[in-house]
């Protein structure tokens, strides 16, 4: 049982039960405000009956010409609200918006070690488009999968023909 609604500034005061998760990064204010100002429709929160934030998704639409696509910047669900299909619901709402914006595909980056997430995205129809080497910096740098799902505007499904080689983060446009 969930209320999906636009993420607001005030949610930044109460999203801690989600963000205390070790894999969820807390960014500086400019990061969130940039998304809220530029792509407010792409930033959504799921709220529980008791008024708690269960999770949220933030994303954007970008790219030139046939690279025009929706991008998932962050997707996270608090531990106690996992295995309820919430992430899938948030993803599908982002895909809907991207469809309306006539995007060709939706893409996202995920840690290669995050099996649960990678498997979930696969179930939702995403494929591994390419591997980005040492995308995540940390004590030990980690690679990312660049995963994609084609939308209806990409009639020939050109966007999801896997890239032939691994890339470095600096090669990303």
């Amino acid at each position: 049982m969930t209320t999906i609604r636009p993420f607001t500034c005030d949610d930044l005061f109460t999203f801690n039960n989600v963000n205390l998760d070790p894999l969820t990064e807390t960014y500086g204010l400019p990061f969130y405000l940039q998304y809220l100002a530029h792509w407010p429709e792409y930033f959504q929160a799921a709220e529980s009956p008791s008024g708690e934030i269960m999770g949220y998704i933030m994303g954007k639409a970008e790219g030139p010409a046939d690279n025009w696509h929706g991008h998932v910047t962050a997707l996270t669900v608090a531990p106690e609200y996992r295995r309820l299909g919430l992430a899938a619901k948030l993803m599908s709402s982002l895909e809907d918006i991207s469809e309306k914006k006539k995007c060709y595909f939706v893409d996202l980056f995920v840690r290669v070690s995050n099996r649960v997430a990678v498997d979930m995205y696969k179930r939702l129809g995403y494929i591994v488009y390419r591997r980005v080497l040492e995308y995540y910096s940390g004590d030990v740098d980690e690679d990312a999968f660049d995963m994609r799902k084609a939308l209806s505007h990409d009639t020939e499904k050109k966007s999801i023909v896997p890239f032939t080689r691994d890339v470095r983060p600096e090669e990303l446009e």
């Binding site: 049982m1 969930t2 209320t3 999906i4 609604r5 636009p6 607001t8 500034c9 005030d10 930044l12 005061f13 109460t14 801690n16 039960n17 963000n19 205390l20 998760d21 070790p22 894999l23 807390t26 960014y27 500086g28 204010l29 400019p30 405000l33 940039q34 809220l36 100002a37 530029h38 407010p40 429709e41 709220e47 529980s48 009956p49 008791s50 708690e52 269960m54 531990p79 106690e80 609200y81 996992r82 295995r83 309820l84 299909g85 619901k89 709402s93 809907d96 918006i97 309306k100 914006k101 070690s113």
Partner: protein, 892 residues
Amino acid sequence: MYENAYKKKPDSEEILNALFMAYVRIGNYKKQQQVAMALHKLRPQKNPYYFWAVMSIVMQAYENENLANSMFLPLAGKMVEKFINEGRLEAEAEVRIYLIILQSMAKFEEALKVLKGPLSEKLVSEPDFPSFLEVELLTKLELWTTVNTAYKRLIESNPDSWQCYKEYLRSSFILIDAHSNAEEGVVNCSDTAADDTVERVVEFLSTMVRRDRDSRESATPPQLPYPIRGPYLGRLELLRILKDRNDVNWNKVLGNPLELICQYYDQFGDKPCCFSDLQLYAALLSESEKQQMITELLAKLGIQSQDGQIVMATDIKVIQRHILLIQLSRYYGFHRQMETDKCLSLAEELLRRYTDGLKFGESLTSTDQQYVDSYMLLLIHLLHDVAVSTKNDQYIWHALVLLEMSLTKSPTNSQLKLLAIQLYAQIGAFMPCYNLYESLEIKHIQHDTLGYVVCNHVLRLGHLSVAHTIFDNTLRFFASVHKDTSDYLISCYKYGSFPKVQEFVQFRHRLQNSLQFAICTAEKLLLDIISNASSHQMTVDIINGMDIDPMTEQTDFKSLCDNRDDSIVFSCEPNKVVDKKELKQKSFLEEKAWLHIRNLTARCLVTAVRLGSPLAGGTTAPESAAIRNGSDAKTVKLRDVLVRLRGELAQCLTDSRQLNKAQMTNDLCLDLYRTRLSAFMRLDLGDRFLIVLDLLLSSELHQNSQQDGQKAASISFSPAQKPAKSLSSLTQENRKPMVMVCGGEERRQIVVEMLENSVLLAEHISQVTIVLGACHEILKPIKASLNKKGKKKKEMDPVMVSVFESYDSFLSETLSAVADLQEAFSEPLTGDNLAFQLDALKIENSNLLFQHVDDTLESSIRKKVTASYQTTAAEIKTLLDRKLRYLENLKF
């Protein structure tokens, strides 16, 4: 700057753009509007400029409620309508702003027309937005039948949307009430599709439940992999409403409530969220039904003890259900009624299950939580209950050992960490708290919302250098708030995200008026004033280096916002025991009172130092004549300021005394820790500070009269009463061991009070020292001139004699308090002594809980705690050493 550039080149789009942004930064909406119109005139084909002007007018409406409806909103509305009529409306943002205006003016019907009309085609970016706005508008118009059917449709297409159920039920009951109020025959809407009777609501919800079951049972593969909670929670919500309305049939319309709840458990009991769902509906069951439910469901799980042997769960779903039942029984208050033995044996059982259940998590990664961590949380709470009821801190010690053990299995579980922070704080060991806090990677806005987790402990336990770090980190975040929010406020205009404009402005307001921000500012100031100085000249230099106006209060107490996020700690504490909302309210009041005292204390100190050294920062020629000449206007004024502040502080103390009576208790589930107000009051430190301020004021008064050859004017305030206990006796009383053995050999108590009092006393002594320093500055020339005149003391004004006498006695009392405190502190906190005391916290008991405790783990905890206590001691010692040198120089 841009204004000048504009005057030179009034036709530059670029400059005007920059000028507009500059006004956005400072929030001058009127000017924004003018510049936007100038831009529009310059580039009439660019719609955004026109709508920048419209939005600027809307913001003026928000700012000025009086003129909002009579002037600003109608003007903004007309401007948009002009464009609509001319067919010049282009973007979605422009429609959105029109909707905002119409809603602000309560023109809901017009807004509905927009949604139904051609303009709605532009609303594409949020697919759900139009339909949700539509029902919202219908609700505003109180068209309940339409609202009701609209929400029914929304539920049908979105059966898991909580908001829809809530609104659906609300509108249904409004219709039901309308029916019963109206005379029969007058209202006739039974032929509509709206649900205007309880029966129809029941029917609708049952249909939704059936649909969910069918979709999973008949369809292969099931359409939805997860059962949705919506329809089931919807039914429970209906019962809750009926019960609240005292409906006689509330427990009949849907069958037995107990059964419904058990059904819910059957379906969702293996989900961690089930606890927070059922928590909402605890009131649907009577006490005996709750008992019955827990007993029956536990039996059904089939993992209860048989012949004294615990039957272990065979998979994690069973574990999750079991955890839920224990959580619920805690929430229902059953744990609070248990005897110590029962508590301990339940805790032991949970520990066994925890240990056994770790096997299910062997393949988890280090960033995952163990499936059985909730057992640990529950058993720690049980141990804490026992510690409280038996007044024996040995249980807390053991809880810490177990928690640290579980953190080795689940190194990123924030709940375990938060609980450990609370326990370490309870036994007065701040260093481990801080390390755990750091490991949570608190940053950016979390400094505001979560800083409280350590903020009240760091000073309470005297870790002054870490306090500096915490305050600096926090203040660094707040320093960039204005810039960060302004930058993106500008973006809102650029990207046409008009609904966000007001939201960003309110957000900025909330941050700028944050309680945490105010606390850190005040505490850092006080710390800067008292920490480093070992002579009065140093204090004078420090104060002169600060840009502070003691005349004005920095905190706007009326606008203060409590941004602390107290929802982070998962809690199963019964509502009867802990009403979190009420406690937060109470804590906020206490924080404000304490903050007020702290702000006033800092302002008094700054004023006192300036009063003592009116020429400080200028030349260093303290000739009495020079002081006199330079003084007149400024000193008199400073004196008035100090008298006023002294009065405010006295009033504030009186108010706080009232508040203090309703002081906060600290329950484990609550991490909004009390402030230091209660201890401060108990030691009468406020009154003691007032007395030394009085001494300064009378010195200053008589200095003037002495020099002007006039009689001293009467003191313009009533002097503070001297507290019954002397400072020395307080420091003497505070001489206690760190761990006390009580009740024969039965219990141990960690005397955290000793640390806390010592810190407060040391802080107080530092403040008194500074005021005495200011007195000394004033009295020095008088003393010098007296000495010059030779030994004609008898001619001295008797009042002046008494001033000198009280100065001397104050000085010697403070000096001996420093010595006492140093001594009282040093002995119990030496290495060997402490290790011996902490060793006594081990429990010898046959219960499994206290056996098999890893000795290396325990000794590492003991080391951490010892180091932390000793840091407190060392920091306080350094502070007092400095003040000792300071005070020595203040002797005549």
